[in-house]
Assembly symmetry: C2
Homo-oligomer: 253 residues x 2
Amino acid sequence: MKVVCIGSGNVATHFSQALNASGHSIVQIWSKGLENAEVLGNSLQAPAINDLKQLDQNADLYLIAVRDDAIASVAEHLKDVHGLVLHTSGATELTVLSTLKRSGVLYPLQTFSKTKALDFNLVPLCIEASTPADLSIVRDLATQLSSKVYEVDSKQRKILHLAAVFACNFTNHLYHISSSILEENQLDFAMLQPLIQETMEKIHTETPFNAQTGPAVRNDQATLDAHINLLKSSPEFKEIYINLSDSIKKTHK
Amino acid sequence: MKVVCIGSGNVATHFSQALNASGHSIVQIWSKGLENAEVLGNSLQAPAINDLKQLDQNADLYLIAVRDDAIASVAEHLKDVHGLVLHTSGATELTVLSTLKRSGVLYPLQTFSKTKALDFNLVPLCIEASTPADLSIVRDLATQLSSKVYEVDSKQRKILHLAAVFACNFTNHLYHISSSILEENQLDFAMLQPLIQETMEKIHTETPFNAQTGPAVRNDQATLDAHINLLKSSPEFKEIYINLSDSIKKTHK
């Protein structure tokens, strides 16, 4: 398929590379900043543009990988195309593309960094389309890119996205807090790597409920109080500590 | 060495198995509940007791792996022993054992479950002792059990324990929240496994600060509001969502 990639961020980069590796041609990359479009375009030998009016109107597939609040305005420029237009957002309904002839969703349930390679074949892809015929096309495409393809409607996709924020974005922020606390005390965050690894591995064989350990689930108030005292100079981290400990206690009471 | 293991929980179980595998003899297991002591004792061919007055007074090593608030009362029964007494607590100072002839700490910076095996050689062991001679003995012992041995004083150990609560206990609770949200909507938590795995792997090559993704760091208020709305029936999860999102925004502002 001839593919126009709209966006040049983390999601656009990984998708366009995976599409290219699967034998599809990236025929155009759009980005608000021409330089970003060119960096990605050069690596894929695709022309870069920064004007939506210049979008190739004859591609087979348009992949929209821009900020959620910019999807609707991008769609404005695709009203006349006969190709299939897919957005890649977890939080956005398929209906944002309802003015288009053909539309669908290809949502990757994964966290991407431009600088870190990952095996796209293991990225869960959540698919949806406005007609059964286009769903079948999206399914075929998704199956070429990944071994984990799920049909998910807009409501379920929003729930998955919310759950992903807890399991990924918030978890990463806790890693940040943890590393800040250690750094402030001249201790190396690398010491925690085996613990972080094991915490993640445990939930392959146990539910997170059963895997819970630590002072809150043991109701060890002396340790909780000592920790809260250690955090007295960081009111923000202290509030998160109290909040999460209370939630663990409630969950396991 | 002849070792008395005081405790029969997760830490006691993994330590006594690792000591046994390294050629030391577990000569006695104490637990408040005789049945728990017997389960562990039988697997190591060690006599089980539930009365601290019956503690063997002639062992080389006493490993205390009980609740933090019970360490002092266990120590009361070890005042006359010539063997080395070690506690295994992250949150407890070495001085809790200061009335004993010889004392030290062997703190495993890891989360243990009785039912899940793990490679003890990769468990970071934080060591401390009241004399250089005993520190040397603890170092030799720790090095037999694990390739990751750190000399850490009581103050640093408390900081490590606090950081571990954020990186492990709280992270696991976020997995629980995530799985609850999915379960309530008939979605499978296994769909998030690749994302959870990648979130953890990213911080091998990037700082958690640089690895942060999601609506809060993008300042995507529409998505944040939509998520908060989805959580309206769970005030507790909603509060955690707002709290952590605000903290991510502040960290990256």
